[in-house]
Symmetry: C5
């Protein structure tokens, strides 16, 4: 479906990382969710429970402005946040992407420029935010998580992304820079359909690409479950139940992010905001489909996991049965034999058998007969 | 209820398979769901996770146009997709059926001819699509799966079918050719009631026959469950829990397809689209009935499966109990006897019993008494 | 509440069984649900999965017309279906009851006389139909099942009944003749309140008596559960888990029929059809009550059943514990004794104890002391 | 909040028990639920599944009329039901309370006097009735159960109460006399707020006091669960699982009565009947609160019960583990020792050790070493 | 987001604790929930099931009035409740906070001053009240619980808070004084945004800070679960199942408080009361977010807890398996050896092996071979 629209000259001014409002040696304040308790509503603090360090955070800061319309495309790396005020926004779409949200002052300045509600900024700066969409009349706020499966740690990793949608402007705030948005930039640069439409279409494109990537996680779970099932069928080590617990935990975490995506898609599809055009609303049905299918797949995975757990526990029981069968077999065969040996080991003076010529051999013969009888009995019981 | 309407001459022009837009040696690109990640919305790629090969796919390509009204019936095999443009559509119903969707260009051309939304085409080309119906105002999109039970592999197999309903035109897109539609063609040919009605009635007929066939799967499950229950009651092998897991899995997969059929039937019954006439809407209640009954039956099967699982696990426990009873019985009887034998096997100088005339026989007698007492004790406990 | 209305002469013309449209030797076609797959909607076939034979079916055929108003009552056995056309329907209620639905042609003729939708006839002829009510504007269709508990087979049996309600006419179609309707006929004959009201009231009366009889099944389950619980507390045989499974299954089957009755009652109570008068709508609250109470009772029964299952499985575990306690007790007491006997059975030349005067008795004494110590130890542990 | 309204003279005419319409020796017909099957709707029969006897029932019969307004209060024991017709009902609230409902004729007469629907009377006479409220336009029917916990039998007992609410008249029908209503009578007598308001307020007061008493049952369950938990932690007897089952059963029975109370409170709060004034509707929120809190508490109790069940079953498993550990310990220590003793009990001619001076003591030493090694091994495994 | 509004002089008159309407020696009546049964609606009694004593309660009594507007702030400790009547309420926000609710007369007087419904006062005085919000047209009632985790007792503790919201007045009633409100007072004193807004905003602020503190409990659970999981993986003591039960119980208690917070937030957000301004309604979305996230987290914790329980029970099973493996190993190796020793301990006259030169050593050799064979067999079975 590649469209052959005329590509204008893209005059990207590549400037360095934007001027930090905090000096380099200053510590970056990272709060835990519970550190914010008691602060007035709308207090801006960078909240993250994942324990990032200052170095990593500082390196990631970057602001980029992209402007386009049907006839052109410009990309600007913003060095000083105040530059945003001077962007000419007539007759074009403007997309401002902020990656790395540790510079709270920068985020606050952007909030002032675009007159955002402090509660919106607070949500955007909270990396533990709930996936949701909210209508603020002049703009829409959407928060969701880019996610991927770390196959080493067997863990889902995420990168929270906040999207503010005006009529002709989109602001995106990423916990850290995401490669996914590069794909969208490329589509805009090469003049795809996206160039013709407004902020709602760009928002759709961004959400779509994030949700599309959930399919990789889906695939990773399928593989993991399949592999675990095979290993459990073969042998059981104590580690398995812990792995089952971990699978359960990661699946739940995934479900918790996917379910609100369904709600987001429905809200956009049925939106009565003038910011979401009718032709864009229909597109969200596609995201709805994706989310429902992934959600269905997670449900299936949960059922498979229950099956694996059953395999594991019945495996334990079966092994106990087997162990006890071995014990019972050996005991039942030898206990009577040992008894007979014990009898003829008694020291009674008057024990006629002991003096028979072939008493010993008769005794051994008796033992063999008992063994054969026992073996036949257990064969019949299907124990051997 | 066969109706004796006058059968007109059916002027079917049997032409060969339509001209492929791709040459024969070209590879057919089959994407997995996750391969589409990152592509612009509406990008047309054939998506299938089932691993079909090129040969099979290429053989299946076929486009057929059927036109009929109360007074006549024509069937045309389309060799070149462009022929569709020249079909005379006045005063008749037109049904175009595409089987084998690998020729993406062909599907795209049809999309252009009928001005379909690229997202609709994308869905039709995705064999992992969710079962659903959507209203696009000038047409309706319905996607569902023909399904059958492969009794060898003990697996549900499916064939995805997309239906586009205009006022007097129906387009169907099948993953592979389906024998079910032949039955409908026959009904049209022999001039049944279907000849009198429009595209909505044909759509009803197609969905009805697909859903009707779910009853076979229903029957297959009943048989499988019944058989598994009987086998488990008789003996338990390690394989059983895996079979229970497989049954669970297939049942879930079936439920996942049947549930959205209920939604589809409801949407058609309560449709406010002008494309669905009132008298057709009432017919969808019948499909609703079918779907609800199959769904109820699946629920019952799940309960039966839980019962089978309980049979299996209590079977394990009962067998352990039985094994331990055998061990305890044998041990408890012989351990005291062996002890007595041990006592009289001791080498103390001064052990009067050893020198009694009938000490040995008294000892044996004592042992017999102990055995009898034990046996009575266990009889009393209902262990033997 | 018996009313003393004047009883008019009831001029019942008792004619023989209606003339069969099929000759006596002809086979009656009985289809399974899945045999209908692929037939056009509205195709009339007698569907039943219960495996009845021709003889039984043929004997059951009977059509009866009852006509009444406040001043009179007439009962006619219809021999020839066409007689129905000539019934005078002015100023009176007409109830036509068809018992035994194998004569598809007869049903079809009735359908033609009363202009019923073929889908309605199809549903009436399907003995596996879902319990439901549907509004066809000029008439209402209600399908439900008369049920009873076969205490021999420990199974719920059913007899499907279809009711068509016009303004002054009621048609009932019974899988086989039901004694319940005799009660209603008697009430009409003896001139109860029912004589004053229309078709909606008769419909209410018919549904009411069917639902009333569900209380017997309720009682049967209470008895069965109670009995099973007592038996399981006393002893456990392998058959129990199978009985638990059977109880689960029958309870589920019962629930599946009772739940839609709640929906039927609600639909009638809130009906906006002109066929259901306001004073009749209020009566359906009573049926609603019945259905809810039976449904509640089934829920309770399910909980009781879970309790029985828990009794059963903890019974198994407790018995294993008991078995192992016996084994451990015997083993723990005798193993050290046997060891001591073994020691003094060794053949070392230099074993001073063997030569002591009372070595043997000292040894026996030691053994007794050990036994006493062990018994005290186990007493303390509450094992004996 | 005691109000000091002027108390008027209460002219209570204490007459004996009302004249029974049935003679003393006549049997009182008590039907079971299933005995009513097949009777016409509205047939009045006293239904009770609890097996009361005639004597108890007959003693309980009593009808009392209370009339009051802001300026006065009168209480009359009705001896003859027909007296009710002659009660002056202008300008006052009338409350007629019937306790003991076995005299069906009396109930029927009251029904005629107040023109009640026969279905209402039927419900009132059915002691197995569902807790509910229904709007009959000129009056409201509310049925609920006074309940208390019989701590001897560990069972919830109930007393069904039907309330009919007109604008200025309340009729109450109690399965047996309830002491709770005495409290309300006292409030009216002492001239509380209740004297100022109408029938809706009295209805509120009656329901409120009944629901208030559910808190006692709540407390009884808390105590029972607490006690059972403690007993199970200490020791397990076979009876426990049966007690757990009984607790489950009683809790379910309680829940089944409390849940519809929530619905009743909501229906009154949101009632559009002109019989329920706005200021009374607000009061039902308080009952709603009570019912929700009791319902929440029942849910908690169910969770606690699950915990108790888990305690019980893991207790069984833990005890088995302990038993097996004792067996394994004893066996593992003595089996090798017994083997050594066995070896030196062999009768081979040429066994050098037997002839060593200190062979016996070396052997004993070896055994001691083995025991020490074993003990250390098990200590390490934390078995001892 | 600190705002630099001009801070006016805060003229706080610090007066002592308000004059108690009950003398110091009088007993404070504390009722249990069930003690109120039977009292007329609206009867004011202090209800608390937690067993506080008089001393503690009496010390806590305190009433404080805070008045502020954009230009000033005053804080008054009320000694005599009647002072409240004389507070000048023109042009300012008034917040009256009552801490310690044992002085029922004081609460009643406040109720009279502000014309509160007796049912509202009754709810405020009931420390077992359900978390909820209700609209009384001229004011709103909100009841919720401040909560914290007592890490010693491993228990959630709570402090019930009732909030009455008029247009420019807020009344708060705290079970005991809460430090959280100090934070809000400080915000008002230092002239934050809160000074500009009305009673709805203050209500929001109070609810927000209470809900914010739930995050601490959330963290405490995370830590507890994590710690318990680690301990269970290492070793299982009998206490564990009881700890799991306690965790379940506390989690449920927490959930029960958090869930209605979601409802409260929704009710405020969608409120049609004129007391809640549009800009305040949006703020409640933030509280909604918090409550949903905490609720999600509780759900996750429940799943983790299920995982811990599975770890625990499979741990028991695995340990049993291990124990039985040790027993079986030792038994299976030594039982045959002991049998052989028994055979050669028999006293038959004619046993050739006994007289072989190296018979003893051959026998020992045979035993060694058997041991090696057994060890290899169990190695192969992965038992050792
Ligand atoms: Mg805050
Ligand atoms: Mg995180
Ligand atoms: Mg994160
Ligand atoms: Mg992260
Ligand atoms: Mg997509
Ligand atoms: Mg799509
Ligand atoms: Mg999956
Ligand atoms: Mg895409
Ligand atoms: Mg597939
Ligand atoms: Mg497929
Ligand atoms: Mg069908
Ligand atoms: Mg049908
Ligand atoms: Mg089935
Ligand atoms: Mg069909
Ligand atoms: Mg059947
Ligand atoms: Mg049947
Ligand atoms: Mg009835
Ligand atoms: Mg009733
Ligand atoms: Mg029952
Ligand atoms: Mg009845
Ligand atoms: Mg009862
Ligand atoms: Mg009762
Ligand atoms: Mg109350
Ligand atoms: Mg209250
Ligand atoms: Mg409780
Ligand atoms: Mg009260
Ligand atoms: Mg408390
Ligand atoms: Mg408290
Ligand atoms: Mg907050
Ligand atoms: Mg927020
Ligand atoms: Mg948590």
């Amino acid at each position: 479906m590649s469209e052959e629209l005329p590509k204008e000259t893209s005059t990207a001014r590549n400037i360095e990382i934007f001027e930090m409002t905090q000096t380099e040696n200053q510590e970056i304040p990272i709060a835990k969710e519970s550190d914010k308790v008691g602060l007035p509503p709308g207090t801006l603090i960078y909240v993250d429970d994942d324990g990032k360090d200052d170095e990593t955070l500082r390196e990631k800061g970057m602001v980029r402005a992209i402007q386009y319309n049907e006839s052109g495309f410009t990309e600007i790396r913003i060095k000083n946040i105040e530059e945003i005020r001077s962007l000419d926004q007539t007759d074009k779409m403007t997309w401002i992407n902020v990656s790395g949200l540790w510079d709270v002052n920068a985020v606050q300045t952007i909030g002032e420029i675009f007159q955002l509600n402090p509660l919106v900024l607070e949500d955007i700066l909270n990396m533990e935010q709930r996936t949701k969409t909210e209508d603020y009349e002049t703009y829409l706020l959407t928060i969701l998580k880019q996610m991927w499966f770390d196959s080493e740690a067997k863990e889902i990793k995420d990168n929270q992304i906040g999207i503010i949608t005006f009529e002709k402007t989109v602001l995106t705030f990423c916990e850290e820079e995401t490669p996914l948005f590069g794909t969208i930039v490329e589509r805009i640069k090469t003049g795809g359909r996206i160039r013709k439409y407004g902020a709602d279409y760009l928002t759709y494109g961004l959400i779509d690409i994030i949700v599309d990537h959930y399919f990789y996680i889906n695939d990773a779970f399928d593989e993991w479950l399949d592999d675990a099932e095979k290993r459990i069928i073969k042998k059981t080590e104590k580690a398995d139940i812990e792995e089952i617990n971990q699978m359960r935990h990661e699946l739940s975490a995934f479900k918790k992010e996917v379910r609100p995506i369904i709600t987001i898609a429905e809200k956009f599809e049925k939106s009565d905001s003038k910011l979401v055009r009718k032709q864009t609303r229909i597109l969200f049905r596609d995201i709805y489909d994706h989310a429902v299918r992934i959600s269905d797949s997670i449900e299936t995975d949960h059922e498979i996991l229950t099956g694996i757990y059953d395999l594991y526990t019945t495996g334990i029981s079966n092994r106990l049965n087997e162990t006890m069968r071995v014990l019972t077999l050996i005991s039942t065969i030898f206990i009577p034999l040992t008894f007979i040996a014990g009898v003829y080991g008694m020291n009674f003076r008057n024990m006629p058998e002991l003096y028979w010529e072939y008493g010993y051999f008769a005794c051994l013969g008796l033992m063999v007969i008992i063994v054969i009888a026992m073996v036949l009995f257990f064969k019949n019981k299907k124990w051997i």
